[in-house]
């Protein structure tokens, strides 16, 4: 597996990122986050619900606009860039906790939606995709071992299968990065490990950088070498998974509001 390499330009560089939601009572969801992610890295962002993990991922592909700070992708700033949002987003595949497949479409058509960012709206009006896109989609399905169910409707699949299809959809974007937001939170442990395995393996084979939000410590230790721990919108740990001590886990999961100021002081 690729380790973070100081000499290499980071794939993603986050600088001073903050986000306060309108109506959030002034409490920041993200508070001055700075992280570098190397190309090919499988980074786990660990933290309890409400720590700001989802907001962080969504600030990267601009599903959420950050209040302050910058995100650099391959050295180019993508935060302030008002220009082509589609071109930015298609470079980041996304995997969701609730899978978010279009239930009434076939598995293959769901994966093909990963190609939408490359295709014109007029062609989409006919719900048709070029032959080349179909080839890409089927290859991606094969990577997660779901090609045998290509013509089944998405809502006939089990949760684990749906998430594998969702991973194939993200792969079909031929992205540089995959943002996985609690991809296994709705799955049982056995299926969860299988799904994380598919995610890590396909990313490795294709050289895709992965940022994966998790709240389970076990999976973080098992699947990642580097972990970023988040609590109340701030990074409270950034280091190898092996260094996750009880004291650090306590800081991630049980930190009281007052402790944030003490640490910063």
């Amino acid at each position: 597996m690729n380790m973070p390499d100081a000499k290499r330009k980071p794939m993603i560089s986050i600088r001073g990122l903050s986000k306060t939601y309108a109506g959030g009572a002034g409490v920041p969801a993200l508070n001055n986050i700075s992280i570098d992610v190397a190309a090919g890295e499988f980074l786990v962002i660990l933290g309890p619900s409400g720590a700001g993990k989802s907001t962080l991922l969504r600030c990267i592909n601009r599903l959420v606009d950050p209040s302050e700070g910058q995100v650099f992708h391959n050295g180019a700033e993508i935060t302030a860039h008002r220009g082509d949002l589609r071109a930015i987003r298609r470079q980041f595949g996304m995997v969701f906790q609730q899978f978010n497949l279009v239930k009434r479409l076939s598995v293959l058509n769901n994966v093909l939606t990963g190609r939408l960012g490359y295709r014109s709206a007029w062609r989409s009006l006919l719900y048709s995709f070029p032959e080349a896109d179909k080839r890409i989609a089927i290859e991606c399905l094969a990577r997660v071992n779901m090609d045998h169910k290509a013509f089944q409707r998405a809502d006939t699949l089990s949760g684990g299968e749906q998430q594998r299809v969702a991973i194939a959809r993200a792969l079909a974007q031929q992205p540089m990065v995959i943002l996985a937001d609690e991809p296994v939170a709705s799955l049982d442990p056995k299926i969860a490990r299988q799904v994380l395995g598919y995610l890590r393996q396909s990313a490795q084979e294709l050289g895709i950088t992965v940022l994966c939000n998790l709240h389970q410590v076990d999976y973080a230790r098992e699947f990642s070498e580097r972990v970023v721990g988040m609590s109340r919108g701030a990074v409270v740990f950034d280091g190898p998974a092996a260094a996750l001590t009880d004291e650090i886990l306590h800081r991630i999961y049980y930190r009281e509001p007052g402790e944030a100021e003490k640490e910063e002081a």
Binding site: R86, R89, V102, T113
Partner: protein, 273 residues
């Protein structure tokens, strides 16, 4: 918690539950009394009078006896009018289906390009729905002349108001997850609608459309009253000529059409959904 404190907590929650139940009952009684008072008052205002109904019974019986038996020989003259009624409903509903798609997208909070467009669209749709088909038919008869085309336009407009509003509400109720997923792929606005929203609302939209066709059939049977084609014209004509036996035949045919369309629509809906 000690056993005693536990008991006390349970008892006080029980007491609170019965107190809340009592308060709800009192509120319900007050509302019921108010509703009855209002209904009584409005009933008197609009001259609701059971005695008048009873006194009128013989006249109604007389009317029905004049209609009986229906003149079935009149049936062969109603063939064209019956076909026309169905044709008006088909075309009116079809135009409404096509028109309601863009209006639904403009009039749903999550797909409208601008809040001003949203409010304007909803207001327009409300206007369409608030004007009865017969009123529209009167307008169109004076615009395009007597005949079924005026009826088609009348049904199309009124039905667009209903279908578009239902569909817009359906669009507003879709699961946000697939929409976010489509946005994340880099899909454009139209693509997000096509792949994230349309598959979610298609079953309901088809169901509403079939239901609306059923309503359109019923509307089409009376549009002839104002000269907009269909069976209604035969109905009013025979009545004005005091040919009540033929009027009865018209009513019978209307009954059969409505019954058949209801049955067919139910079958189609069961097939599709």
């Amino acid at each position: 918690m000690s056993a005693l404190a536990f008991d006390a907590a349970v008892t006080s929650t029980l007491a609170e539950a019965s107190r809340q139940r009592g308060a709800r009952l009192v509120r319900a009684l007050i509302w019921a009394a108010a509703a009855i008072a209002v209904l009584w008052f409005t009933g008197a205002q609009i001259g609701m009078n059971p005695v008048a109904l009873l006194k009128g019974m013989p006249f109604m019986a007389d009317f029905f006896s004049r209609m009986f038996p229906p003149d079935l020989s009149h049936l062969r003259l109603l063939g064209d009018a019956t076909l026309e009624t169905v044709q008006i409903a088909v075309w009116g509903t079809l135009i409404a289906i096509l028109l309601s798609i863009p209006f639904a997208l403009l009039g749903a909070k999550n797909t409208t390009p601008h809040p001003v467009v949203f409010h304007a669209t909803r207001m327009f749709l409300n206007a369409l729905r608030s004007i009865n088909e017969l009123v529209f038919a009167l307008i169109f008869v004076s615009a395009v002349g007597l005949g079924p085309f005026a009826g088609v336009l009348a049904i199309a407009l009124h039905a667009t108001g209903m279908l578009a509003k239902f569909c817009a509400e359906e669009i507003e109720g879709v699961d946000r997850g697939p929409i976010e997923a489509m946005q994340a792929t880099g899909a454009g606005r139209l693509q997000v609608i096509l792949f994230g929203i349309v598959p979610q609302v298609i079953p309901a939209f088809i169901s509403y459309s079939i239901y609306r066709f059923d309503v359109s059939i019923r509307a089409a049977t009376i549009l002839g009253l104002v000269g907009a084609g269909g069976l209604g014209f035969s109905l009013i004509k025979t009545m004005k000529l005091f040919k009540y036996h033929e009027t009865a035949t018209c009513i019978l045919v209307i009954f059969v059409i409505v019954f058949v369309s209801d049955w067919v629509c139910a079958r189609i809906r069961a097939r599709i959904i």
